[in-house]
Symmetry: none
């Protein structure tokens, strides 16, 4: 999905170039789905999405034959965006700060995914690949940030990227009426536990 020019909605299979209007429809659908998912969760009726996108249901099913295909596409797209943000942060900030910023970015992404966890829960084989995709993309991104921070002595290397990834995903999944900052505070507390005994002053996380 990170390739914006040749992929198709359903998995970069077709060699043929997509018609411009078709591509526009796919864009509208992804955008609409992202919005609606954030508002009402991934279980919304398809009609709600197509109405917002301004297309017919048929168009949705043409591009995303299974409902899960749409969910996957939306998520993967944001996973890509999240992974892509890591290098820039690493270049611009000190290792601890870069890590913190990126985790915030991740938290923000997760926070808009009401029902996403439930979808993963669902056992629906359609989502089988999603968890792997997430790890495949975000694992290295986070791993690299962690390594840099560890090398700089700002973090003890005691959590795997995977562990941390899931922890953020879970802690930041929003509950209704939850203090907006809650997820980030907990992530900070978690990472804070990883600081070397004598370097807390250097860490960007609230104590």
């Amino acid at each position: 999905m990170s390739d914006g020019t040749t992929g198709t909605a359903t998995g970069a299979r077709a060699p043929r170039r997509m018609r411009t209007d078709a591509r526009r429809n796919v864009e509208s659908l992804l955008e609409a789905a992202k919005t609606v998912f954030a508002t009402s969760g991934v279980d919304v009726p398809a009609k709600e999405i197509t109405d917002l996108a301004g297309v017919g249901v048929g168009t949705l099913y043409r591009h995303f034959p299974q409902r899960s295909d749409l969910i996957k596409a939306v998520i993967e797209r944001e996973i890509d965006a999240c992974a892509d943000a890591a290098p820039a942060l690493a270049a611009e900030h000190k290792p601890g700060i870069a890590l913190a910023r990126w985790l915030d970015r991740l938290a923000a992404f997760v926070a808009t995914k009401r029902g996403f966890a439930a979808a993963l829960h669902s056992g629906d084989p359609a989502f089988d690949g999603l968890s792997g995709y997430l790890m495949e993309k975000l694992g290295p991104a986070l791993g690299s940030l962690l390594d840099t921070a560890t090398a700089a002595g700002e973090i003890r290397a005691e959590v795997s990227p995977q562990d941390l990834l899931y922890a953020v995903a879970k802690l930041c999944a929003p509950l209704p009426d939850e203090e907006p900052d809650y997820g980030r505070r907990m992530v900070a507390l978690l990472v804070d536990g990883l600081r070397p005994a004598d370097s807390s002053a250097d860490l960007p996380f609230a104590r």
Copy 2:
């Protein structure tokens, strides 16, 4: 619900004693619902529950007029059981151990509640009270364990019971194919971050 002899299914309103067979049915329904919820989430069709309980749908709706009433009853019941476990643990173990054990107990409860978080998410006003109930019951139980551990110098007092409660709830909500121990490890990591700088050896949590 903590009173096992006089409560009614819908909130201990009726003064009249419940008929024995009726009570048995309510028991069956709660038990069946608990089982099915753990297996298939809280969104299972009602029929699945009543079939397992061996009663007709009508009986379900007599005792739990809204589907949410059943969910609430099941959860509240387990919340009660969880809260009730705290004093015994406190009496039998050293403060740090008692805290650790109780958090494990909490984690186990949460682990069987697929879709419970989603239900809280749902915005359905039917669940409005549930979150409050949870805090009301478990907050003091955890608070007392935390206080004791803090007083014993085994914990720094830096998380509120509520923060910790939600963190456990979120970290331990099970994802498919997740390493079974994951939630507990993360909780340990979190609490570990709260140990006083020089007493890590005393703590029961894995490092």
Copy 3:
């Protein structure tokens, strides 16, 4: 039903005297049904009736095995009361007045029977006898009033009691938001059409 001492609810079959509490329950049920029918029509859930009567549903079904039995009992009872009112009116008033008063009485009865017409409509064989009962009881009562009025020269004899009976029943069945007087006005207009050409001044009906 006009015999208040030996009949049973379901048709004066049993020779055995009814237990006092049983009789009281039947009374409560009939009274409650009458009230509820007037308010919400004859299709109300049985529970609504038994709750108002302060008895269990089982009691309802003991005395009125078919739902239609209850409806019939309620209606028949009021039909009886209506028929019984005729002689007194005839004794106390001039023929035209007596007729007018009695038709008002009939109109008032009909006005409280929302859904009664629909029940007759229903084609349910359970109601087969009801229409006949109505005619059998009210026909003679009205016939006698009509005859007297005709003999007194206050009415031309051009409608059968049956025709008039049904006309009143239909015109007075209440519609929502209907001017309360509507039924009576129309009945008056109808009967007015029956006056002898030169005696309009003597008639009690509004012109």
Copy 4:
């Protein structure tokens, strides 16, 4: 609804032309509903209607989201047809005859509406507009016929169109086993009461 070419089922909102098959389905549904309503009343299960129409239930709910929408559509359609018949009758017949014919037409329409009155009774806000619609459409039609007849000296002007409309509606609502002519006879009797004293010979109503 009186426009047979561009209206939609739910109120002539959409500017877009209805697909031919969709229109055919709506027609089938209205036709089937009309038939079934006449036979079994307006409370029949939806399935019965869709089976007769040869469409799925979903189609019914697409075009008539509320059950009351279907009832309203059926009734309004026939109200329109009834109102539309007035001018032709007025053009072809003498005033008294035209009035009589039209009332017969109205009576015939009402006679097929078992349960229609009950629906109006129901208090369901969904039917709020229906009574008004009826008056709005039929009131002027009848008013004009009455005025013409009055001007011709064939009728004394003493009933409002509304009064007469409702009287016909009520008198002609069919009861089971009722003499088929009953409603029309009563309407005739009613209108007959309105004739001028010396012109009875001119009137088309049976005496």
